[in-house]
């Protein structure tokens, strides 16, 4: 394959840190493909990441996330900030393919050197993001973007992984999506730091706004951090610029939330939770890789499947047995290797 590049992870990361877009793009592809070089790349990227403001936008497909982000990009660019955007769309469970259509809304920024946009297919990962989205955000941070905006795929009620990546979560709703009982449900409604009612020029918007206001009143007492999620109505898409609504208010509210996070030091907890999530993901992947590598070629995996299929055992007993064998080996490795990064 002609496209396989001979660049070492060191060279790639060096180039992307220097602002090389192609190197950044290639590195992101490596992450998406869960390549062998992943860990090495991320080890080099990580020290340079973590300084950006990370904003997440979530909400149903067609609610206007991309159109809102388009305006946010412009406002942040007006402030002289560099912006990275990661936009996730769903992959087909059948073909594995994806139609990534978010970029179409960002056309106004297609030639701006201060904007880096990347579309991603979810590739079967649940939670509203792709497996590698958090790594890609780290890469965009390391590239020196002041703001990184993450757009989830069209999320329904329970795709809430965005809270593990973004510091400020914006939930985008539209009118007529259901009554106040829908808004009272657990899940996505609870994770919003800011709730946006987009398409506020449609019929039914005022009624929807009132019922959302009432729901937020219920929810206030439930949040431990004391932040009261503001409700903003917007019109992100209009034939005439003067018909747009609420964009400046959204910008201001994001700033308010960021100020709140920094003043109350709640930002530390947000960052720590993000790291906890990253650690969990990496552990899960690596342990699974380690174990499957150990089983490879032994024919045991097939035996286990056969045994479970014939009712002689069950997946839980098999995993227990395998783990007890492999983790003992792992423990030995840990005892004998004097890692210099030992804490």
């Amino acid at each position: 394959m002609a496209k396989t590049r001979s660049d070492s992870p060191e060279e790639m990361v060096q180039k992307l840190l220097a602002g090389d877009r192609r190197a950044a793009a290639r590195t992101i592809t490596l992450m998406e493909n869960q390549s062998e070089k992943n860990n090495q790349v991320m080890k080099l990227v990580y020290p340079h990441a973590g300084k950006s403001m990370v904003i997440g936008l979530t909400g149903s497909g067609g609610s206007g996330k991309s159109s809102l982000i388009n305006h946010l990009i412009r406002r942040y660019r007006d402030q002289g900030k560099r912006v990275g955007v990661v936009a996730v769309d769903p992959s087909s469970p059948f073909s594995g393919g994806a139609l990534l259509g978010d970029r179409i809304r960002f056309q106004a920024h297609s030639m701006d050197d201060g904007v880096y946009i990347r579309s991603m297919g979810s590739r079967g990962y649940l939670g509203g993001l792709a497996r590698s989205t958090s790594d890609v955000v780290r890469i965009m941070e390391a590239m020196g973007n002041d703001v990184v905006i993450v757009e989830t795929l069209g999320a329904g009620q329970d795709e809430v992984d965005i809270i593990h990546v973004a510091q400020t979560c914006v939930l985008v709703l539209t009118p007529n999506m259901g009554d106040d009982i829908q808004a009272m449900k657990a899940g996505i409604m609870e994770i919003a730091d800011i709730i946006v009612l987009n398409k506020a020029d449609l019929d039914g918007a005022i009624l929807c706004l009132r019922s959302l206001e009432a729901t937020i009143q219920f929810a206030i007492s439930q949040r431990e951090d004391g932040w009261v999620s503001p409700l903003i109505s917007t019109v992100a898409s209009a034939a005439k610029t003067e018909d747009l609504q609420g964009i400046n208010e959204l910008m201001k509210t994001i700033r308010d939330h960021q100020e709140y996070l920094h003043e109350s030091r709640a930002i530390d907890e947000v960052q720590a939770k993000r790291i906890e999530q990253e650690l969990g993901l990496v552990f899960k992947d690596e342990v699974q890789k380690f174990i499957f590598k150990g089983l490879k070629g032994t024919g045991k995996k097939r035996q286990y499947i056969k045994a479970i299929f014939e009712g002689r055992t069950d997946p839980y007993s098999v995993v227990e047995e395998v783990l007890s064998t492999f983790l003992k080996v792992g423990a030995k490795v840990n005892e004998t290797s004097g890692s210099k990064k030992h804490i």
């Binding site: 073909s95 259509g101 970029r103 297609s110």
Partner: protein, 134 residues
Amino acid sequence: MNRDKIKVIVSKVGLDGHDRGAKVVATLLKEAGMEVVYLGMYQTPEGVIRAAIDEDADVIGLSYLSGEHLVYTPKIVNEMKKSGLNDVLLVVGGSFPPEDVPVMKEMGVDEVFRGGSLTKSIVDYIKKNAREKG
């Protein structure tokens, strides 16, 4: 389903408002397991190239139904050369006279699919040739 998806930019450049063909092909490629970044209409050559760079695309697919194919294609080819995208496959589809096909290939287009092309031929061509160039 994690590894090595072929990534394709599907777009139209210039003032051409007929996007049915581009949408059909984008859907087709999605169903063939590829990741399609759909840029839509009214793009500039520079914007398409920038998207191809940032998205690390393997293939650029352009659709024309307005007769502008001989105007914009050389610009795209030129921009690709300037940006070092010599390993990215350039595929053009749409409706144009048969005599323009060799002209576009001469310019540097890798393959041309005129109206009436079988969908399978498009998918097969891309699967076979993406990442083999350069």
